[in-house]
Symmetry: C2
Subunit: 111 residues, 2 copies
């Protein structure tokens, strides 16, 4: 089960309707949903889904009305889940939606 955790949840997710899900698969799915289980993080994904270009952290602090450390906290969660990507540009950090992960996420609900 620990092996799966070595890769982001979004890369391991399987359709929730599959038969006989293992404990690891259950945990992976839960981790993935947990990453989206906060309005601030939904907003981040929403913003990234509508942006063709990567978005700077400083833009999120204004968008979310949260402190900079809190924004970093949320971004880290989404990054760990594999839902977004990070790119360093000089002193700035830019984030973008991982479109592959987003596509996999849709298949999770192939009932």
């Amino acid at each position: 089960m620990k092996q799966l955790e070595l890769r982001p949840a979004a890369q391991c997710c399987v359709p929730i309707a599959d038969e006989d899900l293992s404990e690891a698969e259950l945990a992976t799915s839960a981790t993935l949903f947990k990453a989206l289980a906060d309005p601030a993080r939904v907003r981040i994904v929403n913003r990234l889904a509508n942006s063709p270009d990567p978005v700077c952290v400083c833009d999120f602090t204004a968008l979310l009305g949260l402190s900079q450390p809190t924004v970093s906290f949320h971004l880290k969660k989404l990054l760990a889940a594999g839902l977004i990507d990070r790119e360093q540009r000089g002193a700035w950090a830019f984030y973008s939606l991982n479109r592959v992960a987003a596509a996999r996420l849709k298949e999770v609900f192939s009932f």
Copy 2:
């Protein structure tokens, strides 16, 4: 924003990629994901997705290895989110997947 909470989250959910999501829509989506953000509840949905017939609470206690009150706790969360339906049959309570909600959930990820 409170109006939306009067209906189950699954009935109010909108695609996460829609532009200009309101605070209420963000909260609704987060509530929906929160309902799935636990391995036990993923397992419940998984079981219901594979069952053509409603499933009795007593079956879940065995399946999940959790106490009966804890199982009721999880079922209540999924019910409140609108992801599952409840049906009373005599002294027993049977739960089933809300297929309409499940379909809507898939559309949330229409990136």
